[in-house]
Amino acid sequence: MEDSRLDSKEGEQDERVESDFPLTRLFEKLCPIYMVYGMTYDEFWHGDVYRALFYKKAYRERMRIQGELNDYNFWLQGMYFYEAVCDASPIYHAFAKKGTKPLPYPDEPYGVKHKREKEMTEQDIKNGRLIAQVQFDNWFRATKNHFDNIGKGGKNETEIDNK
């Protein structure tokens, strides 16, 4: 015995399943959309009704951030293309001398190079501070000894200045 439901056209079966009740129909229509927003089926039907609002807001925020990230990535890729073309440009010159070579392409991504430069700068600052501290301590010790010697009746100031 043939099942007539199998002969139905696309879309007809969906219309037959659609609820006659307005609120139920609305919920069933919006449920897949909110599942795209990240809500689970159980949360949509059994959770607090106001969660839907936050899921919608979170989805829009996620799309905005994703858009900004994509924009940055596309810009960065453009930078790499630009660098590649510029580095290779010497050999594209029509009257380039024999033996002309392209400029070397960077060994590492821009982010790694920038991070390493930033780390070195911080290390340099720390080293500079240590050196300054040591020099100050030496100067302080020397000055203290000098005035201690004067106080104990050691060499007078004029003899030290002449040296």
Binding site: L23, F27, W45, H46, D48, V49, R51, A52
Partner: protein, 121 residues
């Protein structure tokens, strides 16, 4: 965030609230939103029963009916249940608050000519 009704009956605490599955069941039992919005005092017992479906689905109908009879201020109760039901679909259709400063703000400007009042001396 959900609006809830908390009550105590015979030593037991009840929290009444709606979820979308509960409203779907209400509609399958004959609840009609349009009728309820226009005449809030229709289908009152059905609406009240529906509020038990989320947190107390196994509560007997006779118990629910007794609780409903004992509840004071039925008009206020129906008003609250009305709000809870409308929240279930308003939360899907309303737009979240936007903090974007570039959002367009508009206001009406009254450009109707104003008559100057001549004062007689």
């Amino acid at each position: 965030m959900n609006t809830k009704i908390e009550l105590e009956y015979e030593g037991q605490n009840y929290t009444l609230e709606y979820d979308r599955d509960g409203i779907r069941m209400l509609e399958s039992r004959g609840f009609k939103l349009e009728e309820f919005l226009q005449k809030p005092m229709t289908n009152t017992e059905l609406v009240f029963q529906g509020a038990f479906l989320k947190n107390h689905p196994n509560t007997k109908l006779t118990t629910i009916d007794e609780i409903f009879k004992e509840c004071p201020d039925k008009a206020g109760l129906m008003s609250t249940l009305n709000k809870m039901i409308t929240d279930s679909y308003n939360s899907l259709l309303s737009e979240p608050e936007d903090d974007d400063p570039k959002k367009v703000q508009w206001k009406t400007v009254d450009l109707t000519p104003k008559k100057e009042s001549k004062t007689k001396e």
